[in-house]
Amino acid sequence: MQCLSTLIHQNKKTMIELKSMNFAYSKKKKIFDDLTLTIEEGHIYGLLGKNGAGKTTLLKLMTGLLFPQSGLTTAFGIDTKKRHVNMLEEIYFLPEEIWLPDVNVAGYLKMYANSYPRFSHELFQRCLKEFEIDPIDKFKRMSLGQRKKVAISFALATQCKILIMDEPTNGLDIPSKGQFRKLSAELIGDDRCIILSTHQVRDLESLIDTVIILDDSHILMNNTIDQICKRIVFKTLGSLDNQPDVIYSEFTPKGYLAVTPNMDGSDSKVDLEILFNMTTQNANLMKQMFNH
């Protein structure tokens, strides 16, 4: 079964590849040092990192908005620095702070929809309906959350093979976060991938199937939820006494949220917040466990 899973994993097409990439804004502080990362089709990646870890910078490097000082960044095998039109037609990047021109929804569609070969007007209208957005309103009369919903709807409707979203749930109300998860999960196909950079892991926990943890200019983890579950177990304990297997724990009002190695193949729900804290605090242990 594991062999079959590995085979399927190997057959997946590489969408974005970063090879021995170095990047720095200034000579004094390197943001990425010899970073290698592969993004494959069919996944929803969660890019997690502390403030200033370089999540947005990494997304910009993947899309050719920034150029690495050395190494290679490619999307669909094309050097992202070239900003090739075939690449741009298949990557949609939704930044944290969105920008919309001073028009209404119809005007925006007139301006940009034709640039995306597979843009679906039906899908766009459906997303707007789900988000309860009135398409007649001008953007400048909309709230930040409403404008974000329009931008997310447009991003999903482009049907680009790679959809990159930086903090997509920032500014969304509670029901909209659920709608966003529903729409994203529905629209991801085997030949597409979504990369979500977020601080708010709880918002996207149920959506993400692969976790990338970024810290101190390195990738500490790049594993699927399945791989994580096979190696570690998340459990709640009343006390840590006589629990020698616990490799990480956090005290909460409900008890100790603990992590132990998965010795007996038991199943547990991955707690991304615990996973992130454990990985950043025990980088070497995690590397050993996940064979990095």
Partner: protein
């Protein structure tokens, strides 16, 4: 590969972003010029129109050029700009065409229509009976070249300056002209053998009147100097447009 379809898509984006502002500008200009016309309508109205019209066309072209890459002034809009599927050449060509020929055409038509309107209405309500007096092709050509020369500076400025590209470019042009003036003066002193000779020279001579120059025993070929100056004048806008292209291509957001 350059795509005409994507070029027009890019042009459409720029037009839709700016159309409201253009219509507002045209409305304000129309009212302003008509108001001035009715205050001073007389036999000199042609000269007034050529001067004011030319100035308006030039000014609006410079403003349009300085703001044609306004998307690059903010990170979020810059990301949107660079991620829109089109090559840099297509984006550049659309911006260049919009900020040069398109703007010049739109404001020329506006100024021309206001001129016709002013003459027609002025003739009806005053004692003057003026005919339409249009600038000749030589004047139009010289005017177009002059506008394109300075447009290239503002176009480059739009890719370089993040904030207030118009004012910053204007300042750079003033500094550039001052430097050129100083260099020219130094060169003239050096070539003509001293400032005293220059001052004593009668500057109302015809430029091509080489025999008069020869009388001054000058140690340079005046025609060569004029040709060099022409080459420099043609090269400057080409260099600015080329520099703007490379700046756009290599800019990181």
């Amino acid at each position: 590969m350059f795509s005409i379809k994507r070029f027009f898509e890019q042009f459409k984006i720029i037009w839709m972003q700016n159309s409201q502002r253009i219509f507002l500008n045209i409305g304000i200009l129309t009212l302003l010029i008509i108001f001035i016309n009715f205050l001073i309508f007389n036999q000199y109205i042609d000269k007034f129109h050529f001067g004011l019209g030319g100035g308006i066309i030039a000014f609006m072209t410079f403003i349009s050029s300085a703001n044609v890459f306004s998307s690059l002034q903010q990170t979020s809009s810059g990301i949107h700009y660079y991620m829109t599927p089109a090559t840099i050449t297509e984006k550049y060509a659309a911006a260049w065409f919009y900020s040069s020929f398109f703007t010049i055409f739109v404001y020329s038509i506006t100024v021309f229509l206001i001129y016709i309107f002013s003459i027609s209405v002025g003739n009806l309500f005053t004692d003057f009976h003026l005919s339409l007096n249009l600038p000749n092709s030589e004047m139009l050509w010289q005017g177009l070249l002059g506008i394109l020369f300075y447009q290239s500076f503002f176009f480059l400025g739009a890719t370089v300056f993040k904030k207030n590209p118009f004012l910053k470019t204007l300042l750079c042009i003033i500094l550039f002209l001052m430097v050129v003036a100083v260099i020219t003066k130094v060169l003239m002193i050096w070539l003509m053998g001293g400032i005293e000779d220059m001052n004593s020279y009668q500057w109302n001579l015809e430029i091509n009147d080489l025999s008069d120059f020869e009388k001054l025993n000058m140690s340079f070929d005046y025609k060569t100097l004029v040709n060099i100056a022409k080459i420099i004048l043609i090269s400057i806008p080409l260099i600015c447009w080329l520099a703007a292209y490379f700046r756009l291509k290599t800019r990181q957001i």
